[in-house]
Amino acid sequence: MNGGSIKFGLGLYTTLFIVFLYAPLAVLTILSFQTGPEGGPQFPIIEWSVYWYQHLFGLTPPSRIAPLPIEEALIRSLTLAVMTMIVSTVLGVTSAQAFRQKFRGSGVVFYLIVLGMMVPGVLVGLGMALVANALGIDRTWWGTAFVLHVVYTFPFAFLVMLAIFNRFDPSVEEASWSLGVSPARTFRKITFPLIFPGVLSAMLFAFTLSYDEFSRTLFASGRDLTLPLAIYGTFSVEVHPNVFAFGVLTTLFSFALLAIYAILMSLSVRRAKRVAVQEEA
């Protein structure tokens, strides 16, 4: 579509839109370099410093501002994210594999799975807490909260794998079977390498969603805090720039994950290309 001025106007608008998306984070980053402990979470920057980053790691002399309880929370959150990642990826792959055949009731099962990502965390979290109370089970981050994390991330893994299997040519597998290769070996040698990019994406989704998940955890985990819960705890009290510094660090951590994902992905693509070239030769 040509409409010079309209296009220019919309382009300008989109630029402003992206500024709108990024501005709060930019301000947060700037303020995380506020001097401490007297500097507050607002402008102007009294003096640039990395005080609040040191504060996070307990490297500053004790002051009236309590350090964030992140050390154990971080370990819990990472463990939980890895557990969730493994279980929901396995469930996603197996369920999507089952969906490659048409079967009766597939519509119902599809909606049942997708419901997991649509139902808000408040509702499942509350429901799970009620079930745990009724059964007399203790609510824990590795139990009741973990199963809810999987309920949330498994649909993402399932949808990713469904998309991958849709583009998958079953004749390659059939060729392998007809040559007498066992189904297990076929899966390992043929199916898995082909679906690997999807598996990787499903893992990335599951890990990051679980690592950041908070409303389900709030109701379903017990006394032990995960990282998002530790941040939520600061909502009710006065906010200090140490929370901002922490925000910058976890964002960097997520970008590192994204970078690992990109590297693994490009490696797998390159490998696939090499195999293709070998086959041609």
């Binding site: 579509m1 040509n2 409409g3 309209i6 296009k7 919309l10 382009g11 608008y13 989109t14 839109f17 992206i18 709108f20 998306l21 990024y22 501005a23 709060p24 984070l25 947060l28 303020l31 607002q42 402008f43 469930l91 197996t94 369920s95 594999q97 055949q101 048409k102 079967f103 009766r104 799975i113 419901l115 139902v119 808000p120 408040v122 509702l123 499942v124 509350l126 429901g127 807490a129 009620l130 079930v131 199963v147 999987v150 498994f154 399932f158 990051t208 950041d212 908070f214 409303s215 709030l218 998002p228 939520y232 600061t234 909502f235 009710s236 929370v243 925000g247 976890t250 964002t251 997520s254």
Partner: protein, 296 residues
């Protein structure tokens, strides 16, 4: 007719549910039944339990429902939820649509449009709570926006309603959720055949006419999908209102959190059921706008 085609399509491809398929499917289905369906049913059930001061007893009663609907606080929260939801829905649509129009329709270069979409998604790699909290130094009395406005001489006094008000909750939610509107709309716009628009231009239609008669109708499925995403997420919210309203805006989600905090499980369950019904009604109403199955 419909019955015939249905049975035909079921029996023509291998309709047998192989035992292998069952085994592959069972873990996922069991997991979702136990940990998703059961908790929701439990919530509905507990909403009819008897609430005493600190605990609930499985004696069925309507008392919690009566209390909920005769209390100004709860009814107020219900209306606040509806008001904030509709406002944020309209705001995400208004803010997001032009950006989607640019990315989906005007950017011809595939790489550039991918880059723009990725730019929109990157903020999601930050913790949700941190993104919410980031609005505090933006909107506060000594915040960035007030500072810039004062420097520019637009206002002489800092605007105080920016933070800890309805407005701050709406601004925050709009920023956090509008990408879910942009994505589906941009996707639908990207599928429009450019020759249709060219034909309309050749026939002398102006931009507004083309927009009204071609672009807008063809993008409606995207609008509906985006609206469903935004609605479900906004209705289930409580963190943004807790962080940015200074406890002045109480959504149903906030009611649930405080009731659970004071062990009023039955009341929390009632609020949860009301929220579920509201959400179901919202999604059903949106699906009536466009038949998604036909469009996608």
């Amino acid at each position: 007719m419909a019955v015939i085609t249905e049975t035909a399509s079921e029996s023509a491809p291998p309709a047998r549910t192989t035992s292998k398929g069952m085994w592959l499917l069972a873990p996922g289905v069991i997991w979702m039944t136990l940990f998703l369906v059961l908790p929701i049913l439990m919530m509905v059930y507990v909403s009819f339990w008897t609430q005493t001061t600190f605990k609930i007893e499985p004696k069925l009663t309507l008392q919690s429902w009566i209390t909920f609907f005769s209390s100004d606080t709860y009814i107020g929260a219900l209306w606040t939820t509806v008001r904030i939801w509709l406002t944020v829905l309209a705001a995400t649509l208004l803010v997001g649509y032009p950006a989607a129009l640019f990315v989906g329709l005007f950017v011809k270069n595939k790489t550039l449009s991918t880059v723009l979409l990725v730019l929109c998604v990157i903020p999601f790699w930050t913790s949700f709570l941190i993104r919410v909290l980031a609005w505090r130094p933006m909107l506060g009395k000594e915040g960035a926006i007030n500072m810039i406005l004062m420097k520019l001489g637009v206002v002489s006094q800092p605007i105080e309603v920016l933070l800890f008000s309805d407005l701050s909750v709406i601004i925050g939610m709009t920023q956090i959720y509008c990408v879910f509107m942009v994505g589906p709309i941009a996707f639908m716009l990207g599928r429009i055949d450019p020759s249709i628009i060219e034909a309309a231009q050749d026939l002398g239609a102006g931009f507004w006419r083309i927009f009204r008669t071609i672009i807008l109708p063809l993008s409606m499925p995207g609008v509906v999908v985006g609206s469903i995403f935004v609605s479900v997420m906004v209705l289930g919210e409580f963190a943004t209102s807790a962080a940015l309203s200074g406890r002045k805006v109480n959504l149903l989600g906030n009611i649930i959190v405080t009731q659970v905090g004071s062990l009023k499980w039955a009341f929390a369950a009632v609020a949860g059921v009301v929220l579920t019904i509201l959400m179901g009604a919202a999604v059903a109403a949106l699906l009536r706008v466009v038949d998604l199955r036909k469009e996608l």
